[in-house]
């Protein structure tokens, strides 16, 4: 039965198919895979790939880094972009403290605790600038991102302060700045590094427990640490591809 109406329907379906195929082609046209196949890669690999090293064996817990960070970045009182934790491992459990983020250093632990201690050390913490950052994935407005050189940053103009990212970060490095009411975090002092300086905390560390540099430069201290391959990252099970390499990291550290 070939009535004109059924012919029209066939023509319509054919056109629909052709149309969606064309639309589909148009959508993949700028896709990276297509770009790679056609040799049209718009952007080249970034010049820098920054990383941070924290050497727990060297940290003396003086708090210079925390003070420097708070001054450099006008971090509100009581909030911290970087801080120091003191671990005291005893047979009865692990005691962790961080009075005011360790910014004024530490007083000696209680004598009873000191006697019991099997092992004790300081652990500086800061944003890990993860290559697979959970905080970026959850941001509903695209206000946080990883720059091509590896800095995980917050766009303060765009952030709506919903604090999803604060909850998503496995390392607890993000907070809502209670003066600006937006998400805040360590930037690895992006403003300094972009002018050829080191991050503030690295500048003031008296024992070189903090190192910062470019992994693309084989002579940099961080590249050598990564090469030596005796580093660990915090929470490797979170698969965040953390870019803060810790030396002397013990398994009790969380």
């Amino acid at each position: 039965m070939t009535s004109p109406s059924s012919n029209a329907r066939r023509v319509f379906l054919q056109k629909l198919l052709a149309g969606s195929a064309a639309a589909g082609l148009f959508m993949v046209y700028r896709h990276p895979v297509v770009a790679a196949l056609t040799g049209d890669d718009g952007d080249k690999a970034p010049d820098h790939d920054f990383a941070f090293v924290v050497d727990i064996n060297r940290c003396i817990g003086c708090g210079q880094c925390v003070r420097a960070c708070n001054v450099e970045n006008n971090v509100p009182e009581g909030q911290f972009r970087t801080w120091i934790e003191r671990y005291v491992v005893t047979p009865s459990g692990v005691h962790i403290d961080s009075p005011q983020g360790g910014m004024n250093g530490f007083d000696e632990v209680d004598e009873s605790l000191a006697e019991e201690a099997l092992n004790t050390f300081f652990v500086p913490k800061l944003c890990n600038h993860c290559a697979e950052a959970p905080c970026i994935q959850v941001c509903p407005v695209g206000a946080t991102y990883r720059s091509p050189e590896g800095f995980v940053l917050v766009d303060s103009e765009h952030c709506i302060g919903c604090s999803y990212c604060v909850q998503a970060c496995p390392y607890g490095v993000r907070f809502i700045n209670h003066e600006k009411r937006i998400a805040d975090k360590c930037t690895w002092c992006y403003h300094r590094v972009s002018k050829g300086k080191l991050p503030a905390c690295v500048t003031v560390c008296p024992t070189q427990a903090r190192l910062f540099g470019d992994l693309n430069d084989p002579n940099s201290a961080v590249a050598k640490v990564r090469q030596a391959d005796n580093w660990d990252v915090l929470k490797p099970e979170a698969h965040t591809e953390s870019m803060c390499l810790y030396l002397g990291l013990q398994r009790v550290v969380v």
Partner: protein, 195 residues
């Protein structure tokens, strides 16, 4: 009444056009101009973040035109090189003298740098803590030098230690205080007593 039989279609089309135009307009307003739709962020924010002013300068900013590396001021002011020779060579001047921005801004000295002569300054790094690395020098009343001179933790560290080169005796000598006597081999070439 001659209403077109297709008027409902036209009305729908008009509605559709309004919706599409509205959507495009709202989207255009909502998306920032420098939006990178591939990586999902505002490219301008990188430039904005670079504008943040610096407060710390690092030791490289202590040198400069008429500052702590000039012969002219060498007699009066501690030089980068002085600190660079002693066991405090790894320290930043800003560790003890406060951030650069409080001392110099726009290449002009705005105020004297902080000078803190309290023991607290030294003890911030040198107080004895079990959690510190064992090989880090920590204040110890039993250490040879301290035991010999009955040093209490309240005794001014600067009486004996020069802050810029702590293994060297402090420059100002108070004869009434017991000081370790220099033997010939302990005296360095510049006549200062080495610990």
């Amino acid at each position: 009444m001659n209403i077109s039989p297709r008027s409902h279609i036209y009305r729908l089309i008009v509605l559709l056009v309004i919706v599409v135009v509205g959507f495009v307009a709202v989207r255009g307003l909502a998306i920032p101009s420098s939006w990178d739709s591939e990586n999902f962020y505002r490219l301008d924010s990188l430039e904005e973040l670079k504008l943040q002013p610096m407060h710390l300068g690092g030791n490289e900013s202590c040198g400069g035109a008429s500052c702590h590396d000039q012969e002219r001021v060498a007699k009066h002011k501690t030089q980068l090189a002085t600190v660079g020779r002693g066991s405090h060579k790894g320290l930043a001047c800003e560790n003890c003298h406060g951030p650069l921005s409080a001392h110099v801004s726009d290449d002009k000295k705005v105020a004297s740098a902080v000078i803190d002569r309290e023991n607290k300054l030294c003890l911030n790094c040198h107080a004895q803590l079990v959690s510190r690395p064992k090989d880090f020098p920590q204040f110890d009343t039993e250490a040879n030098g301290h035991w010999y001179f009955d040093v209490e933790i309240t005794k001014p560290c600067l009486d004996c230690h020069s802050p810029h080169n702590p293994r060297q005796m402090a420059a100002k000598k108070d004869k009434s205080k017991k000081q370790p006597k220099a033997t010939s081999e302990q005296t360095s070439t510049n006549g200062e007593v080495q610990l």
